[in-house]
C-alpha cells in the first residue's frame, strides 16, 4: 500500500495550502522575534492567548473569528505588558517573568476550556494540536467557489503580515538592531515592540486551529532560525524563511500522508510532521550553512591543516639546508619528522615541485631559490616569535618552540617588522640559531 490512493487534490491541496499560509504568516514576524532574541515571547504569547480565546468564546458563544481575534490580541498585548512589568518590579530576568506570565495565563485558559468542554464545542485537543485535517470540511462560498474558512483567514493574516513587514521593514530593522537609536530618532522602539506583539498574537490566533497552539511556535522560530544560518542579509533572510516555511508545510503533509504507510501505519498528524520537517530543514542548514556550518568548518580546518603542513615541509627543508648546504631530503624523512602520513607529505611536496619551491632528485628534495625564500620567511617568523616570547613575555626557553611553531603561519611582513622592532632586531633566537634577514 503506497498511500497514493489516499491523496486527493481537492482535499490534500487545501490542507497543504492552509499549512503553508500558516507557516509563512508565522515565520514573517518570527524573523524579528529571532533577531530581537525574544523568540520565546512568540511562544509565550501563543500559549497565553488561550484564556482570551476561551473568554471570547463564552461571551460570543460562537467560534466565529472576530471576537476570538479581539480576545486573543488583548491577552497577547497583556502578556507583553505583564512580562515587562514583572521584570521591572519583580527584579527577575526576562525568561523567568515570561515563564510566570504565560504559564499562568495558559493555565487559566486551560481551566476555562476544560470546564466548558462538556457543553460547548471547543475541544482542548484541537486547540493544542490543531486540526489541519478538518480544513476542507468547513467552507465559505467566495465568488461561487467553496473555499475553506481557515484558508481565507490565514490568507488574510499572511497578507497583513506581509504588508507589515514590507511597510515597516526599515523601522523593524532599526528597532531590532539598535533600539536606542531608533527611539532617539523618533521611531519608538517600544511602539514597534508592541506592534510586533499584536501581529504575533493575531498570527497565533489565526494559526491555532491549523497548526495548534503549541506547534505554531515551531513556525515562529524554526524557519527564521534556519534562514539566519543561510544568509547575511535581512531581506534575503525573510524571503528564505518564507520559502523554508512553505517547504516545511508541503513536506510535512506529504510525509504525514505517505511516510507512515511505508511502514504499514495509518497516516499521522500533519501539524506534527510540519514541525518535524522544519526541524529537519534546520538540521540540514546547520550542516551546510556557508558561514559556520559543520561542513564548512570541517573543510576550513582541513584546508588550514594542509597549508600549515605544506609550510612546515618547506621550513623543515630550510632548517636542514642550514645545517648542510644543498642536502637532499627523502620524503620518508620529512614525514617522519613532521609525523604526517607519507603519502600526504609526498603529495604536498609534488605541489611544491609544481610551484617551483623544490626540485626533486634521486636522493630526495632540494630547495630552489624561491623555496629558500619562503622557508627563510617562515623560519624568521618562528625565531622572532621565540625571541619575543622570551624577552617580552618571560616564557621559559624550553616552552617557546610549540607556540612559535603555530604563530609562524599567521605572521605577515608588517607583524614581523613590529616583532623585529620590539625585540631590537636580534641576530639570533633564544636557542642561539641565526635569524634570517628579511627579503627586500
Amino acid at each position: 500500500m503506497s498511500g497514493l490512493e489516499n491523496w486527493s487534490w481537492a482535499y490534500d491541496g487545501w490542507i497543504v495550502l492552509a499549512g503553508m499560509l500558516c507557516a509563512v504568516a508565522a515565520s514573517l514576524p518570527g524573523n524579528f522575534l529571532l533577531l530581537r532574541r525574544m523568540s520565546l515571547l512568540g511562544d509565550a504569547i501563543s500559549h497565553a492567548i488561550l484564556p482570551g480565546l476561551a473568554v471570547a468564546f463564552f461571551v460570543s458563544e460562537s467560534r466565529s473569528s472576530w471576537p476570538m481575534f479581539l480576545g486573543a490580541v488583548i491577552v497577547g498585548i497583556l502578556t507583553a505588558l505583564f512580562t515587562e512589568w514583572i521584570r521591572n518590579f519583580g527584579d527577575v530576568d526576562e525568561g523567568a517573568s515570561m515563564g510566570v506570565v504565560f504559564t499562568t495565563l495558559f493555565a487559566i485558559g486551560l481551566v476555562l476550556i476544560v470546564q466548558a468542554a462538556d457543553h460547548v464545542d471547543l475541544d482542548p485537543g484541537c486547540v493544542l494540536y490543531g486540526a489541519i485535517e478538518m480544513t476542507p470540511l468547513d467552507t465559505l462560498n467566495v465568488a461561487g467557489q467553496p473555499i475553506p474558512r481557515v484558508v481565507i483567514v490565514l490568507g488574510a493574516v499572511t497578507l497583513v503580515n506581509l504588508l507589515f513587514v514590507v511597510l515597516f521593514f526599515k523601522e523593524l530593522k532599526l528597532s531590532a538592531f539598535d533600539p536606542a537609536l531608533a527611539t532617539s530618532v523618533g521611531f519608538s522602539a517600544r511602539l514597534m515592540h508592541y506592534l510586533l506583539m499584536v501581529i504575533v498574537a493575531v498570527t497565533a490566533v489565526a494559526s491555532f486551529e491549523t497548526a495548534g497552539n503549541i506547534l505554531v511556535v515551531a513556525m515562529f522560530v524554526v524557519p527564521p532560525a534556519t534562514a539566519f544560518l543561510l544568509t547575511e542579509r535581512l531581506g534575503v533572510m525573510i524571503f528564505c524563511s518564507a520559502i523554508i516555511a512553505m517547504l516545511s508545510a508541503g513536506l510535512g503533509h506529504l510525509s504525514a500522508v505517505f511516510l507512515p504507510h511505508a511502514f504499514g501505519f495509518q497516516s499521522t498528524s500533519t501539524s506534527g510532521m510540519m514541525a518535524l520537517c522544519a526541524g529537519m530543514l534546520f538540521f540540514v542548514a546547520s550542516l551546510v550553512s556557508p558561514r559556520n556550518g559543520v561542513i564548512v568548518r570541517i573543510v576550513r580546518r582541513q584546508k588550514l591543516a594542509l597549508r600549515i603542513l605544506s609550510e612546515d615541509l618547506i621550513a623543515l627543508l630550510y632548517r636542514m639546508d642550514e645545517r648542510a648546504r644543498d642536502s637532499a631530503v627523502s620524503p620518508q624523512k620529512l614525514s617522519a619528522v613532521l609525523r604526517s602520513h607519507t603519502w600526504l607529505a609526498a603529495w604536498l611536496m609534488n605541489r611544491h615541485v609544481r610551484t617551483g619551491h623544490v626540485i626533486p632528485s634521486e636522493s630526495g628534495y632540494r630547495l630552489t631559490e624561491a623555496g629558500r625564500q619562503l622557508g627563510s620567511v617562515l623560519v624568521r617568523s618562528h625565531r622572532l616569535w621565540e625571541q619575543y616570547l622570551v624577552s617580552e613575555g618571560g616564557v621559559a626557553v624550553d616552552r617557546i618552540h610549540g607556540q612559535a611553531e603555530k604563530l609562524e603561519h599567521f605572521t605577515n611582513r608588517e607583524l614581523r617588522d613590529r616583532l623585529d622592532e620590539i625585540t631590537a632586531a636580534p641576530a639570533t633566537d633564544p636557542h642561539g640559531s641565526r635569524i634570517p634577514s628579511e627579503h627586500k
Binding site: D91, K170, A180, V185, G186, E232, L234
Partner: protein
C-alpha cells in the same frame, strides 16, 4: 532659555530602584566645542547621555537642547552608542548600518532610496571604509565597527553629537581618524559631547571637560578644570554617605 546653547542640563537626577545613578547634574555646553565626559566606571556617564535623549526616565531635572526639549530638537542630535550595545551578528551590511542614520529624515514607511545610499557611501569614504560598504557587519574589526558608527553619525548631519566611548578599544589609526573627524565637525560649528576613558589624551582632544562621578565634580574649559585636584576628587571620593543613606532606605523598605 537660550536657543544658541547646544545643551543645558539643570538639576538632572536619574535613579534606578531609588538609588541615584546621577544626581543633581548641572551642565552647560557652549557651541562649537568638543566636550569630554570623564569619570570612573559606574559614574553614570552613559546614563547622562541616555537621560539627555529621554532614553531613561528622569527622576527630576530639565534638559534643553538649543533651547528646546529633546523631542522638539531631536533632528539636530546625533547619537553614537557604545559599540557593544548592538548585536554585530545582525544580518545587515555596513552600508545598511550607515543608512540607518538617515531613517529619521526618510520618515515612516518610506523606503531607502539611491540618494540616501549615496550620502551613506560618502560618509563611509570620509571614515576610510568605502571598500567595505557591502561587508556583513560581523566581519568587521573593532576599529571598523567604530568607524561604521561614526559614519552613521555623520549622515545624521546633526548639530549636537552625543558619543558613548568612541575611542574604546580601537586601533591607533582609527583613533586618529576619529579625532580628525571630530575636529572637522568643530570647524563646521558642530558640538560633540564624548565619553572618554583615556585621561592623558583629554587636554589634546577636548576644549572642555565634564568630570562626573554621580554628580558633576567640575565642568568647564579643559585648561581650568582638568587639574590633578579635580581628578582626585572625581576618581577618589564617591559620595559614599549618600550611597549608605539610600542603602538604608532600601533596607528599611524591605523590612516594613
Amino acid at each position: 532659555m537660550n536657543s544658541s546653547l547646544p545643551l543645558a542640563v539643570n538639576d538632572l537626577t536619574v535613579a534606578w530602584h531609588r538609588k541615584p545613578v546621577i544626581w543633581d547634574v548641572d551642565i552647560e555646553v557652549q557651541p562649537g566645542q568638543l566636550v569630554g565626559v570623564v569619570g570612573p566606571n559606574g559614574a553614570g556617564k552613559s546614563t547622562l547621555l541616555k537621560a539627555i535623549m529621554d532614553l531613561v526616565p528622569k527622576a527630576s531635572g530639565r534638559v534643553e537642547i538649543f533651547g528646546q526639549s529633546y523631542r522638539q530638537s531631536r533632528h539636530r542630535v546625533g547619537y553614537v552608542p557604545q559599540r557593544e550595545s548592538v548585536d554585530w551578528d545582525f544580518p545587515i551590511s555596513v552600508l545598511d548600518v550607515v543608512t540607518m542614520g538617515l531613517y529619521g529624515k526618510i520618515g515612516w514607511c518610506l523606503p531607502v532610496r539611491r540618494k540616501h545610499r549615496d550620502i551613506a557611501l560618502r560618509a563611509l569614504e570620509q571614515v576610510g571604509m568605502s571598500d567595505l560598504a557591502n561587508r556583513q557587519i560581523s566581519q568587521l574589526s573593532g576599529g571598523q565597527q567604530q568607524r561604521t558608527f561614526l559614519a552613521r553619525a555623520l549622515v545624521q548631519d546633526a548639530d549636537l553629537y552625543l558619543m558613548d566611548e568612541p575611542f574604546a578599544a580601537v586601533d591607533a589609526a582609527t583613533e586618529k581618524a576619529i579625532v580628525e573627524i571630530l575636529r572637522d565637525m568643530r570647524k563646521a560649528g558642530k558640538t560633540a559631547i564624548v565619553i572618554h576613558h583615556d585621561l592623558p589624551t583629554v587636554p589634546e582632544y577636548f576644549d572642555a571637560v565634564v568630570l562626573l562621578n554621580m554628580r558633576v565634580v567640575a565642568c568647564g574649559p579643559t585648561k581650568d578644570v582638568f587639574t590633578r585636584e579635580n581628578l582626585e576628587r572625581t576618581y577618589g571620593g564617591r559620595l559614599t554617605l549618600l550611597d549608605e543613606a539610600t542603602e538604608a532606605m532600601r533596607r528599611r523598605e524591605r523590612t516594613l
